[in-house]
């Protein structure tokens, strides 16, 4: 077997090996180099896998050559390849940024541990997306979660500790709900392989333990993806974590959880059980609408820019789950494409806030007054990212909202299309708060007239902003793969 056929295993193994090595070298520079190279390699592998899927279809990889369903299977289809590219891509952009950024936010002697934890978190997130084994999903989920708790606790404010603790409690409850769901499915079907499981479930979709498993999995995964009203852990975690960590988590952690939800709904339980016999679409629709309006409204009244965008994340997750609730190809396309578009937009925004934090020393709105004069590039970048959150044409956010509105109209829900537009107006309000403070207030005394963040911070952040604009203008890649993934998911379910 050539090396190319082992790409699915290498995808997870490379960052996994980088983590203990980073601890062993105990040197900031070496650890940084190791983990960054591993993440670039992971990104290259993800792109290669994505290309292979395009030409050859789904890849099934038997880990350790134990044939599935007995052995653990790594399974790459269109959706998982898309998520792998997003996660590895964000890590590859965020890591070069981290070097300068954590110098200001994390004590120097903990830097190599930061890189080890980052590599572990990346391992977990990539593992969730690639594995085809239900229990394996739980294990990778916990690898990602445990390292995330540590990364959040590294924030220099003491409230980061409490945010991390609260996330640990909520996250563990969520993960335990997921294990209960997987356990019930295992008891009923006697298999942990997702494909095998879905075949065996077809004859027993009326059985009560299967329905209970669906309930446990829905609640558990919803906790992980911060579906309103299970989002309480998210704002504090994003607000007090180091800026790099906020950027990476906001772009990937909740997105991977959405992937798990899609995987279980469409590939395991099947569309007919989840969407036709149970009132799940109605529940999802109601919760998504609540998230879009309530979280956006709360975001308007925040005094800290990181918290403001954290609440905006909860609202944007509402758009993602809204697309899912339509149960149509166009709705799912909107969901998958918004995973990507919101991921790059939010990562860019949190990276730019990190730039501002290194210069002005905090992310409260009062400190950011006059940012447009002090740091013109950073402030302009945040405005562009904000426009993408609103969904202004020419930005990535517009593309996903366009497909969301199309899916709503396709279902005949014209009032829903209006609701999507109305909730975007709330986004205008919270983005305007930043614009007003950055451009129409004088900078506080004591700040230099003009001092831009160092290039090593600005370049990665602007790379993502440029991607936001690029994917808003050229949608062939993102929408193309999202539509393919959506069609494949629904095809599997039928």
């Amino acid at each position: 077997m050539s090396l190319a056929s082992h790409l699915p295993a290498l995808q997870v193994v490379l960052p996994l090996v980088a983590a203990p090595l980073a601890v062993l070298v105990r040197h900031t520079g070496a650890a940084f180099l190791l983990v960054t190279l591993a993440s670039w390699a992971a990104f290259a592998i993800a792109v290669l896998l994505w290309q292979q899927i395009g030409s050859h279809g789904t890849i099934s990889y038997a880990l350790g050559s134990w044939a599935p369903p007995l052995g653990i299977e790594y399974r790459v289809d269109r959706l998982s390849a898309f998520v792998l590219v997003l996660v590895a891509g964000i890590a590859a952009v965020v890591l070069p940024y981290s070097r300068r950024s954590i110098e200001a936010e994390i004590p120097r002697e903990q830097h190599y541990l930061f890189y080890a934890m980052f590599a572990l978190c990346l391992t977990g997130l990539l593992g969730i997306a690639i594995t085809g084994d239900a229990f394996n999903i739980f294990v990778f989920l916990e690898i990602a979660s445990l390292s995330t708790y540590v990364l959040i606790a590294l924030g220099r404010d003491r409230r980061a500790l409490m945010a991390s603790y609260q996330y640990l409690i909520m996250g563990t409850i969520g993960a335990t709900f997921i294990v209960i769901g997987v356990g019930l499915l295992y008891l009923k079907t006697g298999t942990l392989n997702l494909v095998d499981m879905s075949v065996r479930l077809q004859e027993m979709s009326n059985h009560r333990p299967v329905l209970a498993a669906l309930g446990f999995l829905t609640v558990g995964i919803s906790l992980k993806l911060a579906l309103f009203p299970l989002h309480q852990w998210l704002p504090n975690a994003y607000a007090y974590a180091p800026s790099v960590v906020s950027a990476f988590l906001a772009a990937t952690a909740t997105k991977v959880s959405v992937y798990v939800l899609l995987r279980f709904y469409f590939s395991v339980f099947g569309e007919s059980l989840v969407f036709h016999r149970l009132p799940l679409p109605e529940i999802m629709l109601a919760l998504s609408l609540a998230a879009m309006f309530a979280a956006s409204a709360i975001a308007i009244f925040q005094d800290d820019l990181k918290r403001l965008f954290a609440y905006s994340s909860v609202a944007q997750i509402g758009y993602i789950t809204l697309g899912l609730s339509f149960d149509s190809v166009s709705g799912l396309t909107a969901t998958v494409v918004h995973l990507f578009n919101h991921g790059i937009t939010k990562a860019a925004l949190f990276l730019l806030i990190g730039c501002a934090v290194t210069v002005v020393g905090g992310s409260s709105l009062s400190r950011l007054a006059g940012l447009g004069k002090v740091m013109p590039l950073t402030a302009f970048g945040i405005v562009l990212g904000g426009l993408s959150l609103i969904g202004v044409p020419g930005t990535a956010g517009f593309v996903s909202k366009w497909y969301l509105v199309l899916a709503a109209l396709e279902k005949g829900h014209w009032w829903l299309a209006l609701a999507i537009v109305a909730s975007s107006l709330l986004a205008v309000a919270y983005v305007w708060r930043f614009v007003e403070i950055a451009y129409f207030r004088a900078p506080p005394a004591g700040l230099p007239v003009r001092r831009e963040a160092p290039l090593s911070l600005l370049v990665p952040a602007w790379l993502l902003i440029a991607a936001t604009i690029y994917f808003g203008l050229d949608t062939s890649v993102t929408v193309g793969s999202a539509a393919g993934a959506a069609a494949e998911l629904l095809g599997m379910a039928k």
């Binding site: 229990f135 739980f138 294990v139 916990e142 445990l146 708790y149 540590v150 606790a153 220099r156 404010d157 003491r158 409230r159 500790l161 409490m162 991390s164 603790y165 640990l168 409690i169 563990t172 409850i173 335990t176 294990v179 209960i180 356990g183 295992y186 008891l187 005094d303 800290d304 020393g361 905090g362 992310s363 409260s364 009062s366 400190r367």
Partner: protein, 125 residues
């Protein structure tokens, strides 16, 4: 179906609900972790109990043994126990750091301190 034949499920359910209740109802950070531990442990039982057949042995071919218990749930739960231990250790480490920073491990007192600081000096780092 009588109640006694399913007693392992009743114990599992009781532990599950009791653990979750402690996590929600208690404000002491250590007690919350204790509740979380009970909640996770109940799941171990959920997996292991159905894997055991009365009179079953380990799945090793030998003369005179015909009934085997399923070993896979045990292996899965071994992994889950490791995850549970890691979670508990990390949780306790966080509580130590929280106690150093706030001088208390009662959730409401910590929130009070944070609130007081936010109203005095909002978002001062």
């Amino acid at each position: 179906m009588n109640l006694a034949s399913h007693f392992s499920y009743w114990i599992t359910l009781f532990l599950m609900v009791a653990g979750l209740f402690i996590v929600i109802a208690r404000g002491n950070l250590i007690k919350k972790l204790v509740g979380l531990g009970i909640f996770q442990t109940s799941v171990y039982l959920l997996y292991i109990a159905p894997g055991k057949l009365i009179g079953g042995t380990a799945p090793i071919l030998a003369e005179g043994f015909k009934v085997y218990s399923n070993p896979l749930p045990h292996v899965l739960i071994l992994t889950a126990i490791v995850v549970g231990v890691a979670t508990l250790a990390l949780g306790l480490a966080l509580v130590v750091r929280i106690r150093e920073a706030y001088d208390t491990i009662e959730e409401d007192e910590i929130l009070l301190q944070d609130h007081a600081r936010e109203t005095e000096a909002p978002f001062e780092r």
